[in-house]
Protein backbone atom coordinates (compact mmCIF):
# COMPACT_ATOMS: atom_id res chain seq x y z
CA UNK A 1 0.00 0.00 0.00
CA UNK A 2 2.94 2.36 0.35
CA UNK A 3 4.12 4.46 -2.57
CA UNK A 4 7.63 3.05 -2.52
CA UNK A 5 7.08 0.04 -4.72
CA UNK A 6 5.47 2.10 -7.44
CA UNK A 7 8.29 4.58 -7.62
CA UNK A 8 11.43 2.49 -7.38
CA UNK A 9 11.14 -1.30 -7.25
CA UNK A 10 14.91 -1.80 -7.14
CA UNK A 11 15.33 0.56 -4.23
CA UNK A 12 12.47 -1.27 -2.54
CA UNK A 13 14.11 -4.66 -2.54
CA UNK A 14 17.36 -3.18 -1.23
CA UNK A 15 15.45 -1.52 1.58
CA UNK A 16 13.72 -4.80 2.38
CA UNK A 17 17.03 -6.60 2.59
CA UNK A 18 18.47 -3.83 4.74
CA UNK A 19 15.64 -4.10 7.24
CA UNK A 20 15.99 -7.86 7.44
CA UNK A 21 19.72 -7.73 7.99
CA UNK A 22 19.29 -5.00 10.59
CA UNK A 23 16.68 -7.02 12.44
CA UNK A 24 18.76 -10.19 12.56
CA UNK A 25 21.86 -8.24 13.54
CA UNK A 26 19.95 -6.53 16.34
CA UNK A 27 18.73 -9.85 17.70
CA UNK A 28 22.22 -11.32 17.61
CA UNK A 29 23.65 -8.25 19.28
CA UNK A 30 21.07 -8.34 22.05
CA UNK A 31 21.79 -12.00 22.50
CA UNK A 32 25.52 -11.43 22.78
CA UNK A 33 25.21 -8.45 25.10
CA UNK A 34 22.72 -10.14 27.42
CA UNK A 35 25.32 -12.75 28.17
CA UNK A 36 28.50 -10.70 28.22
CA UNK A 37 26.96 -7.94 30.30
CA UNK A 38 25.59 -10.52 32.65
CA UNK A 39 21.96 -9.50 32.38
CA UNK A 40 21.10 -13.15 32.32
CA UNK A 41 23.12 -15.89 33.93
CA UNK A 42 25.10 -17.77 31.31
CA UNK A 43 23.77 -20.92 32.86
CA UNK A 44 20.46 -20.04 31.31
CA UNK A 45 21.52 -18.23 28.21
CA UNK A 46 24.50 -19.33 26.18
CA UNK A 47 26.51 -16.82 24.20
CA UNK A 48 26.28 -16.98 20.42
CA UNK A 49 29.93 -17.93 20.12
CA UNK A 50 29.67 -20.77 22.60
CA UNK A 51 26.63 -21.97 20.76
CA UNK A 52 28.38 -21.84 17.40
CA UNK A 53 31.27 -23.86 18.74
CA UNK A 54 28.90 -26.46 20.09
CA UNK A 55 27.04 -26.88 16.82
CA UNK A 56 29.10 -29.64 15.23
CA UNK A 57 29.57 -31.86 18.28
CA UNK A 58 25.92 -31.53 19.08
CA UNK A 59 24.91 -32.47 15.58
CA UNK A 60 26.98 -35.60 15.78
CA UNK A 61 25.46 -36.53 19.13
CA UNK A 62 22.00 -35.82 17.81
CA UNK A 63 22.18 -38.10 14.78
CA UNK A 64 20.57 -41.23 16.20
CA UNK A 65 17.90 -39.11 17.81
CA UNK A 66 17.21 -37.27 14.58
CA UNK A 67 16.82 -40.56 12.78
CA UNK A 68 14.36 -41.82 15.38
CA UNK A 69 12.34 -38.63 15.30
CA UNK A 70 12.10 -38.31 11.57
CA UNK A 71 11.22 -41.92 11.01
CA UNK A 72 8.40 -41.56 13.54
CA UNK A 73 7.38 -38.31 11.90
CA UNK A 74 7.33 -39.84 8.44
CA UNK A 75 5.13 -42.74 9.52
CA UNK A 76 2.81 -40.44 11.46
CA UNK A 77 2.47 -37.99 8.57
CA UNK A 78 1.83 -40.62 5.90
CA UNK A 79 -0.71 -42.45 8.05
CA UNK A 80 -2.50 -39.29 9.07
CA UNK A 81 -2.63 -37.81 5.57
CA UNK A 82 -3.71 -41.01 3.83
CA UNK A 83 -6.44 -41.59 6.39
CA UNK A 84 -7.50 -37.97 5.97
CA UNK A 85 -7.69 -38.33 2.18
CA UNK A 86 -9.84 -41.43 2.42
CA UNK A 87 -12.15 -40.10 5.12
CA UNK A 88 -12.27 -36.66 3.51
CA UNK A 89 -13.31 -38.00 0.12
CA UNK A 90 -15.89 -40.28 1.73
CA UNK A 91 -17.39 -37.45 3.77
CA UNK A 92 -17.57 -35.29 0.67
CA UNK A 93 -19.55 -37.72 -1.42
CA UNK A 94 -22.81 -36.01 -0.63
CA UNK A 95 -24.07 -32.82 0.93
CA UNK A 96 -25.76 -34.87 3.61
CA UNK A 97 -22.66 -36.76 4.77
CA UNK A 98 -20.80 -33.47 4.70
CA UNK A 99 -23.28 -31.66 6.94
CA UNK A 100 -23.46 -34.57 9.35
CA UNK A 101 -19.78 -35.37 9.77
CA UNK A 102 -18.01 -32.07 9.23
CA UNK A 103 -18.82 -30.54 12.65
CA UNK A 104 -17.56 -33.71 14.32
CA UNK A 105 -14.31 -33.55 12.39
CA UNK A 106 -13.94 -29.84 13.09
CA UNK A 107 -14.40 -30.68 16.75
CA UNK A 108 -11.41 -32.98 16.40
CA UNK A 109 -9.37 -30.01 15.20
CA UNK A 110 -10.54 -27.72 17.97
CA UNK A 111 -9.95 -29.90 21.00
CA UNK A 112 -6.44 -29.47 22.37
CA UNK A 113 -5.24 -33.01 21.74
CA UNK A 114 -2.27 -32.47 23.98
CA UNK A 115 -4.70 -32.84 26.89
CA UNK A 116 -5.31 -36.42 25.78
CA UNK A 117 -1.63 -37.29 26.00
CA UNK A 118 -1.81 -39.01 29.39
CA UNK A 119 -4.56 -41.22 27.99
CA UNK A 120 -2.40 -42.19 25.06
CA UNK A 121 0.43 -43.04 27.41
CA UNK A 122 -1.99 -45.19 29.35
CA UNK A 123 -3.04 -47.07 26.23
CA UNK A 124 0.14 -47.27 24.19
CA UNK A 125 2.96 -46.76 26.64
CA UNK A 126 5.96 -44.49 26.41
CA UNK A 127 7.19 -46.04 23.19
CA UNK A 128 7.13 -45.28 19.54
CA UNK A 129 3.46 -46.25 19.31
CA UNK A 130 2.30 -43.24 21.28
CA UNK A 131 4.50 -40.92 19.27
CA UNK A 132 3.25 -42.20 15.94
CA UNK A 133 -0.42 -42.33 16.94
CA UNK A 134 -0.37 -38.88 18.45
CA UNK A 135 1.50 -37.45 15.46
CA UNK A 136 -0.88 -39.12 13.03
CA UNK A 137 -3.94 -37.78 14.83
CA UNK A 138 -2.41 -34.31 14.93
CA UNK A 139 -2.05 -34.43 11.16
CA UNK A 140 -5.34 -36.19 10.47
CA UNK A 141 -7.86 -33.66 11.70
CA UNK A 142 -6.58 -30.49 10.03
CA UNK A 143 -5.97 -32.45 6.82
CA UNK A 144 -9.43 -33.98 6.70
CA UNK A 145 -11.06 -30.56 7.07
CA UNK A 146 -8.75 -29.33 4.35
CA UNK A 147 -9.81 -32.13 1.99
CA UNK A 148 -13.37 -30.86 2.28
CA UNK A 149 -12.29 -27.33 1.55
CA UNK A 150 -10.37 -28.68 -1.42
CA UNK A 151 -13.54 -30.41 -2.56
CA UNK A 152 -15.22 -27.02 -2.92
CA UNK A 153 -12.65 -26.09 -5.52
CA UNK A 154 -14.27 -28.45 -7.99
CA UNK A 155 -16.94 -26.62 -9.90
CA UNK A 156 -20.08 -28.61 -10.83
CA UNK A 157 -19.78 -27.30 -14.38
CA UNK A 158 -16.41 -29.04 -14.67
CA UNK A 159 -17.99 -32.34 -13.69
CA UNK A 160 -20.72 -31.81 -16.27
CA UNK A 161 -18.03 -31.05 -18.81
CA UNK A 162 -16.36 -34.36 -18.05
CA UNK A 163 -19.69 -36.12 -18.47
CA UNK A 164 -20.31 -34.46 -21.79
CA UNK A 165 -16.86 -35.53 -22.94
CA UNK A 166 -17.71 -39.11 -22.09
CA UNK A 167 -15.36 -39.65 -19.14
CA UNK A 168 -15.97 -42.42 -16.63
CA UNK A 169 -16.17 -41.69 -12.91
CA UNK A 170 -12.57 -42.75 -12.33
CA UNK A 171 -11.31 -40.70 -15.25
CA UNK A 172 -13.23 -37.70 -13.97
CA UNK A 173 -11.48 -38.06 -10.63
CA UNK A 174 -8.09 -38.32 -12.27
CA UNK A 175 -8.50 -35.56 -14.83
CA UNK A 176 -10.78 -33.05 -13.18
CA UNK A 177 -11.38 -33.53 -9.47
CA UNK A 178 -7.87 -34.25 -8.24
CA UNK A 179 -6.12 -31.51 -10.28
CA UNK A 180 -8.68 -28.98 -9.09
CA UNK A 181 -8.13 -30.01 -5.48
CA UNK A 182 -4.37 -30.21 -5.64
CA UNK A 183 -3.35 -26.64 -4.66
CA UNK A 184 -5.58 -26.55 -1.59
CA UNK A 185 -4.55 -30.09 -0.69
CA UNK A 186 -0.90 -29.11 -0.86
CA UNK A 187 -1.34 -26.20 1.50
CA UNK A 188 -3.26 -28.57 3.76
CA UNK A 189 -0.30 -30.91 3.60
CA UNK A 190 1.83 -27.99 4.75
CA UNK A 191 -0.28 -27.55 7.88
CA UNK A 192 -0.57 -31.29 8.48
CA UNK A 193 3.19 -31.59 8.28
CA UNK A 194 3.72 -28.91 10.89
CA UNK A 195 1.03 -30.39 13.10
CA UNK A 196 2.55 -33.86 12.91
CA UNK A 197 5.99 -32.48 13.67
CA UNK A 198 4.72 -30.53 16.64
CA UNK A 199 2.85 -33.60 17.88
CA UNK A 200 5.91 -35.80 17.64
CA UNK A 201 8.06 -33.22 19.41
CA UNK A 202 5.56 -32.75 22.22
CA UNK A 203 5.44 -36.45 23.01
CA UNK A 204 9.20 -36.78 22.82
CA UNK A 205 9.76 -33.75 25.01
CA UNK A 206 7.28 -34.96 27.56
CA UNK A 207 8.14 -38.59 27.94
CA UNK A 208 10.30 -40.33 25.41
CA UNK A 209 13.78 -41.69 25.85
CA UNK A 210 14.86 -41.34 22.25
CA UNK A 211 14.26 -38.72 19.66
CA UNK A 212 15.14 -35.09 19.32
CA UNK A 213 12.62 -34.02 21.92
CA UNK A 214 14.14 -36.32 24.47
CA UNK A 215 17.62 -35.18 23.47
CA UNK A 216 16.68 -31.55 24.03
CA UNK A 217 15.04 -32.31 27.34
CA UNK A 218 18.16 -34.07 28.55
CA UNK A 219 20.36 -31.18 27.58
CA UNK A 220 18.05 -28.80 29.41
CA UNK A 221 17.79 -30.78 32.60
CA UNK A 222 21.58 -31.21 32.74
CA UNK A 223 22.08 -27.50 32.11
CA UNK A 224 24.30 -28.02 29.07
CA UNK A 225 23.13 -24.72 27.73
CA UNK A 226 25.35 -24.17 24.65
CA UNK A 227 24.54 -27.66 23.41
CA UNK A 228 20.89 -27.01 24.12
CA UNK A 229 20.89 -23.90 21.99
CA UNK A 230 22.81 -25.69 19.28
CA UNK A 231 20.31 -28.52 19.26
CA UNK A 232 17.44 -26.08 19.03
CA UNK A 233 19.05 -24.27 16.13
CA UNK A 234 19.76 -27.55 14.38
CA UNK A 235 16.19 -28.78 14.75
CA UNK A 236 14.81 -25.45 13.70
CA UNK A 237 16.98 -25.44 10.59
CA UNK A 238 15.71 -28.82 9.51
CA UNK A 239 12.11 -27.91 10.17
CA UNK A 240 12.46 -24.61 8.35
CA UNK A 241 13.93 -26.35 5.32
CA UNK A 242 11.08 -28.86 5.24
CA UNK A 243 8.61 -26.01 5.51
CA UNK A 244 10.24 -24.04 2.74
CA UNK A 245 10.20 -27.05 0.45
CA UNK A 246 6.53 -27.63 1.08
CA UNK A 247 5.73 -23.95 0.75
CA UNK A 248 7.39 -23.68 -2.63
CA UNK A 249 5.72 -26.90 -3.74
CA UNK A 250 2.36 -25.46 -2.75
CA UNK A 251 3.08 -22.27 -4.68
CA UNK A 252 4.25 -24.09 -7.78
CA UNK A 253 1.18 -26.28 -7.91
CA UNK A 254 -1.05 -23.29 -7.42
CA UNK A 255 0.47 -21.20 -10.17
CA UNK A 256 -2.49 -21.52 -12.48
CA UNK A 257 -4.78 -19.87 -9.97
CA UNK A 258 -5.64 -16.23 -10.32
Amino acid sequence: MGPMSAIAPRTHSWAVLAIQVAFVAAILAMWQFSVSLGWIDSLFLAAPLATARALIPTTILAEPHLAATFSAFAVALVTGVLAALVVGLLVNTSRYTYTVFMPLLVLGVIIPKVTLLPLFVLWFGIEKATIVVYGALSAFFPMVVNVSAAGQEVKPAQITLARVMGYSKIQTYRKVIIPAMLPVLTSGLFYACNAALMGVFIVELALARFGIGAFVRNLATTFRTPELYAAIILTSLITVIINMLLWSLARRLGRWRA
Binding site: M1, L122, F201, I202, V216, R217, S236, N243
Partner: protein
Protein backbone atom coordinates in the same frame (compact mmCIF):
# COMPACT_ATOMS: atom_id res chain seq x y z
CA UNK B 1 -33.09 -37.98 0.08
CA UNK B 2 -32.70 -38.96 3.73
CA UNK B 3 -35.19 -37.25 5.97
CA UNK B 4 -33.17 -37.30 9.21
CA UNK B 5 -31.90 -33.87 10.07
CA UNK B 6 -28.09 -33.69 10.24
CA UNK B 7 -28.11 -32.55 13.85
CA UNK B 8 -30.18 -35.56 14.84
CA UNK B 9 -27.93 -37.85 12.82
CA UNK B 10 -24.89 -36.46 14.55
CA UNK B 11 -26.45 -36.83 17.98
CA UNK B 12 -27.36 -40.39 17.10
CA UNK B 13 -23.79 -41.17 16.07
CA UNK B 14 -22.39 -39.72 19.28
CA UNK B 15 -24.93 -41.63 21.39
CA UNK B 16 -24.08 -44.84 19.56
CA UNK B 17 -20.40 -44.36 20.28
CA UNK B 18 -21.10 -43.67 23.94
CA UNK B 19 -23.33 -46.74 24.19
CA UNK B 20 -20.75 -49.01 22.57
CA UNK B 21 -18.11 -47.52 24.87
CA UNK B 22 -20.22 -48.15 27.96
CA UNK B 23 -21.13 -51.70 27.03
CA UNK B 24 -17.66 -52.83 25.99
CA UNK B 25 -16.12 -51.42 29.14
CA UNK B 26 -18.50 -53.39 31.32
CA UNK B 27 -18.30 -56.55 29.29
CA UNK B 28 -14.64 -56.70 28.38
CA UNK B 29 -11.83 -57.75 30.59
CA UNK B 30 -9.84 -54.67 29.75
CA UNK B 31 -8.33 -53.30 32.85
CA UNK B 32 -10.21 -50.51 34.53
CA UNK B 33 -6.91 -48.74 34.57
CA UNK B 34 -7.03 -48.26 30.83
CA UNK B 35 -10.57 -47.28 30.28
CA UNK B 36 -13.53 -45.99 32.22
CA UNK B 37 -17.15 -46.20 31.12
CA UNK B 38 -18.92 -42.94 30.28
CA UNK B 39 -21.27 -43.31 33.21
CA UNK B 40 -18.43 -43.36 35.68
CA UNK B 41 -16.75 -40.46 33.95
CA UNK B 42 -19.95 -38.48 34.17
CA UNK B 43 -20.17 -38.96 37.93
CA UNK B 44 -16.52 -38.12 38.31
CA UNK B 45 -17.05 -34.84 36.51
CA UNK B 46 -19.96 -34.01 38.76
CA UNK B 47 -17.88 -34.87 41.82
CA UNK B 48 -14.91 -32.91 40.65
CA UNK B 49 -17.01 -29.82 40.05
CA UNK B 50 -18.65 -30.26 43.42
CA UNK B 51 -15.21 -30.78 45.00
CA UNK B 52 -16.41 -34.02 46.53
CA UNK B 53 -13.88 -36.10 44.61
CA UNK B 54 -10.33 -36.80 45.70
CA UNK B 55 -8.92 -34.38 43.15
CA UNK B 56 -6.87 -31.92 45.16
CA UNK B 57 -7.64 -28.23 44.94
CA UNK B 58 -9.61 -28.37 41.71
CA UNK B 59 -10.89 -24.81 41.58
CA UNK B 60 -7.63 -23.08 42.51
CA UNK B 61 -5.80 -25.05 39.84
CA UNK B 62 -8.53 -24.55 37.27
CA UNK B 63 -8.43 -20.84 37.95
CA UNK B 64 -4.67 -20.78 37.38
CA UNK B 65 -5.06 -22.44 34.02
CA UNK B 66 -7.92 -20.18 32.99
CA UNK B 67 -5.87 -17.14 33.94
CA UNK B 68 -3.09 -18.45 31.77
CA UNK B 69 -5.50 -18.95 28.85
CA UNK B 70 -6.91 -15.47 29.18
CA UNK B 71 -3.58 -13.78 29.80
CA UNK B 72 -1.90 -15.49 26.90
CA UNK B 73 -4.82 -14.82 24.59
CA UNK B 74 -5.25 -11.16 25.41
CA UNK B 75 -1.61 -10.45 24.68
CA UNK B 76 -1.68 -12.65 21.57
CA UNK B 77 -4.72 -10.81 20.28
CA UNK B 78 -3.49 -7.31 21.01
CA UNK B 79 0.06 -7.87 19.78
CA UNK B 80 -0.98 -10.05 16.86
CA UNK B 81 -3.59 -7.67 15.50
CA UNK B 82 -1.31 -4.67 15.98
CA UNK B 83 1.56 -6.37 14.15
CA UNK B 84 -0.81 -7.59 11.48
CA UNK B 85 -1.97 -4.05 10.79
CA UNK B 86 1.62 -2.84 10.80
CA UNK B 87 2.73 -5.41 8.25
CA UNK B 88 -0.27 -4.75 6.03
CA UNK B 89 -0.11 -0.99 6.04
CA UNK B 90 3.50 -0.61 4.98
CA UNK B 91 4.55 -2.66 1.99
CA UNK B 92 8.17 -2.17 2.93
CA UNK B 93 7.87 -3.53 6.45
CA UNK B 94 5.46 -6.23 5.33
CA UNK B 95 7.78 -7.53 2.64
CA UNK B 96 10.79 -7.30 4.91
CA UNK B 97 9.27 -9.32 7.68
CA UNK B 98 7.40 -11.89 5.62
CA UNK B 99 10.32 -14.33 5.35
CA UNK B 100 11.31 -13.65 8.95
CA UNK B 101 7.80 -14.49 10.10
CA UNK B 102 7.68 -17.63 7.98
CA UNK B 103 10.97 -18.80 9.49
CA UNK B 104 9.80 -18.05 13.01
CA UNK B 105 6.54 -19.86 12.28
CA UNK B 106 8.40 -22.88 10.98
CA UNK B 107 10.53 -23.26 14.09
CA UNK B 108 8.86 -25.90 16.21
CA UNK B 109 8.17 -23.78 19.24
CA UNK B 110 7.73 -26.81 21.44
CA UNK B 111 11.41 -27.43 21.25
CA UNK B 112 12.02 -23.98 22.71
CA UNK B 113 10.00 -24.67 25.80
CA UNK B 114 12.82 -26.06 27.96
CA UNK B 115 14.61 -22.83 27.18
CA UNK B 116 11.69 -20.77 28.36
CA UNK B 117 11.61 -22.64 31.60
CA UNK B 118 15.33 -22.20 32.07
CA UNK B 119 15.12 -18.47 31.51
CA UNK B 120 11.79 -17.62 33.06
CA UNK B 121 11.56 -20.18 35.80
CA UNK B 122 8.47 -22.12 36.65
CA UNK B 123 5.10 -20.58 37.29
CA UNK B 124 2.62 -18.88 35.03
CA UNK B 125 5.01 -16.72 33.05
CA UNK B 126 6.73 -19.30 30.80
CA UNK B 127 3.40 -20.95 30.10
CA UNK B 128 1.80 -17.70 29.09
CA UNK B 129 4.76 -16.67 26.95
CA UNK B 130 4.76 -20.06 25.31
CA UNK B 131 1.07 -19.85 24.59
CA UNK B 132 1.66 -16.48 22.96
CA UNK B 133 4.44 -17.77 20.72
CA UNK B 134 2.24 -20.59 19.51
CA UNK B 135 -0.84 -18.52 18.87
CA UNK B 136 0.43 -15.21 17.61
CA UNK B 137 1.41 -16.20 14.08
CA UNK B 138 -2.04 -17.19 12.99
CA UNK B 139 -3.40 -13.88 14.28
CA UNK B 140 -0.72 -11.88 12.47
CA UNK B 141 -1.20 -13.76 9.20
CA UNK B 142 -4.97 -13.47 9.27
CA UNK B 143 -4.98 -9.81 10.22
CA UNK B 144 -2.52 -8.74 7.57
CA UNK B 145 -4.30 -10.84 4.94
CA UNK B 146 -7.62 -9.31 5.98
CA UNK B 147 -6.35 -5.76 5.64
CA UNK B 148 -4.52 -6.43 2.37
CA UNK B 149 -7.61 -7.95 0.80
CA UNK B 150 -9.75 -4.89 1.32
CA UNK B 151 -10.93 -3.61 -2.03
CA UNK B 152 -8.95 -0.39 -2.61
CA UNK B 153 -12.06 1.05 -4.22
CA UNK B 154 -13.67 1.30 -0.81
CA UNK B 155 -10.77 3.31 0.51
CA UNK B 156 -10.88 5.55 -2.55
CA UNK B 157 -14.58 6.07 -1.98
CA UNK B 158 -13.96 7.08 1.61
CA UNK B 159 -11.33 9.62 0.65
CA UNK B 160 -13.49 11.02 -2.13
CA UNK B 161 -16.25 11.53 0.41
CA UNK B 162 -13.85 13.47 2.58
CA UNK B 163 -13.24 10.92 5.32
CA UNK B 164 -10.01 11.43 7.17
CA UNK B 165 -7.59 8.59 7.88
CA UNK B 166 -9.01 7.79 11.30
CA UNK B 167 -12.62 7.69 10.13
CA UNK B 168 -11.69 5.52 7.16
CA UNK B 169 -10.06 3.14 9.54
CA UNK B 170 -13.05 2.78 11.80
CA UNK B 171 -15.80 2.92 9.22
CA UNK B 172 -14.31 1.00 6.35
CA UNK B 173 -11.15 -0.91 7.12
CA UNK B 174 -12.15 -2.33 10.47
CA UNK B 175 -15.59 -3.63 9.47
CA UNK B 176 -14.30 -5.07 6.21
CA UNK B 177 -11.38 -6.81 7.85
CA UNK B 178 -13.27 -7.92 10.94
CA UNK B 179 -14.52 -11.36 9.83
CA UNK B 180 -11.09 -12.62 8.80
CA UNK B 181 -9.51 -11.09 11.87
CA UNK B 182 -12.10 -12.80 14.06
CA UNK B 183 -11.39 -16.10 12.32
CA UNK B 184 -7.71 -15.55 13.05
CA UNK B 185 -8.49 -14.80 16.69
CA UNK B 186 -10.55 -17.95 16.94
CA UNK B 187 -7.70 -20.05 15.58
CA UNK B 188 -5.24 -18.10 17.69
CA UNK B 189 -7.24 -18.87 20.80
CA UNK B 190 -7.19 -22.56 19.93
CA UNK B 191 -3.44 -22.55 19.42
CA UNK B 192 -2.85 -20.54 22.59
CA UNK B 193 -4.84 -23.12 24.55
CA UNK B 194 -2.77 -25.90 23.00
CA UNK B 195 0.40 -24.04 23.88
CA UNK B 196 -0.57 -23.43 27.49
CA UNK B 197 -1.75 -27.01 28.01
CA UNK B 198 1.39 -28.41 26.39
CA UNK B 199 3.46 -26.26 28.71
CA UNK B 200 1.50 -27.45 31.72
CA UNK B 201 2.06 -31.07 30.79
CA UNK B 202 5.71 -30.73 29.80
CA UNK B 203 6.89 -29.14 33.00
CA UNK B 204 4.34 -29.97 35.62
CA UNK B 205 3.91 -27.37 38.31
CA UNK B 206 0.33 -26.27 38.81
CA UNK B 207 -2.86 -25.74 36.91
CA UNK B 208 -5.18 -28.25 35.31
CA UNK B 209 -2.21 -29.92 33.63
CA UNK B 210 -0.74 -30.74 36.99
CA UNK B 211 -4.02 -32.29 38.12
CA UNK B 212 -4.13 -34.39 34.97
CA UNK B 213 -0.57 -35.46 35.60
CA UNK B 214 -1.44 -36.31 39.22
CA UNK B 215 -4.34 -38.50 38.11
CA UNK B 216 -2.22 -40.16 35.44
CA UNK B 217 0.67 -40.82 37.82
CA UNK B 218 -1.59 -42.39 40.43
CA UNK B 219 -3.64 -44.33 37.89
CA UNK B 220 -6.86 -42.66 39.01
CA UNK B 221 -8.30 -43.34 35.62
CA UNK B 222 -11.90 -42.08 36.03
CA UNK B 223 -10.58 -38.83 37.47
CA UNK B 224 -8.13 -38.61 34.60
CA UNK B 225 -10.91 -38.92 32.04
CA UNK B 226 -13.03 -36.50 33.99
CA UNK B 227 -10.32 -33.84 34.23
CA UNK B 228 -9.48 -34.21 30.57
CA UNK B 229 -13.12 -33.82 29.69
CA UNK B 230 -13.41 -30.64 31.72
CA UNK B 231 -10.28 -29.18 30.15
CA UNK B 232 -11.46 -30.02 26.64
CA UNK B 233 -14.81 -28.44 27.34
CA UNK B 234 -13.17 -25.20 28.36
CA UNK B 235 -11.17 -25.16 25.14
CA UNK B 236 -14.20 -25.93 22.99
CA UNK B 237 -16.30 -23.37 24.86
CA UNK B 238 -13.81 -20.64 24.07
CA UNK B 239 -13.77 -21.64 20.43
CA UNK B 240 -17.57 -21.67 20.22
CA UNK B 241 -17.67 -18.23 21.74
CA UNK B 242 -15.57 -16.94 18.88
CA UNK B 243 -17.65 -18.77 16.30
CA UNK B 244 -20.75 -17.11 17.65
CA UNK B 245 -19.06 -13.70 17.56
CA UNK B 246 -17.91 -14.34 14.00
CA UNK B 247 -21.36 -15.28 12.82
CA UNK B 248 -23.02 -12.31 14.49
CA UNK B 249 -20.51 -9.96 12.97
CA UNK B 250 -20.96 -11.34 9.46
CA UNK B 251 -24.63 -10.46 9.67
Amino acid sequence: MPRISPAVARAAIVLCILAVWEITTHLSSASRILIAPPSEIFWQVVNILATTSNVPKFYPNAWITIQEFIGAFVITAALGVALGFLFASSKLIGDAFEPILLVLYAIPKVILYPLFVLMLGIGMVPKIIFGITVGIFVVIFNTSAAVRQIDPDYVKLAYSLGYGRLMTFFKIILPAAAPTILAGLRLGFGYTVIGVMAAELLVVTDGLGSLIDWASFNYYTPQLYGLIFITLTIGVAGNSLFSVLERRWVR
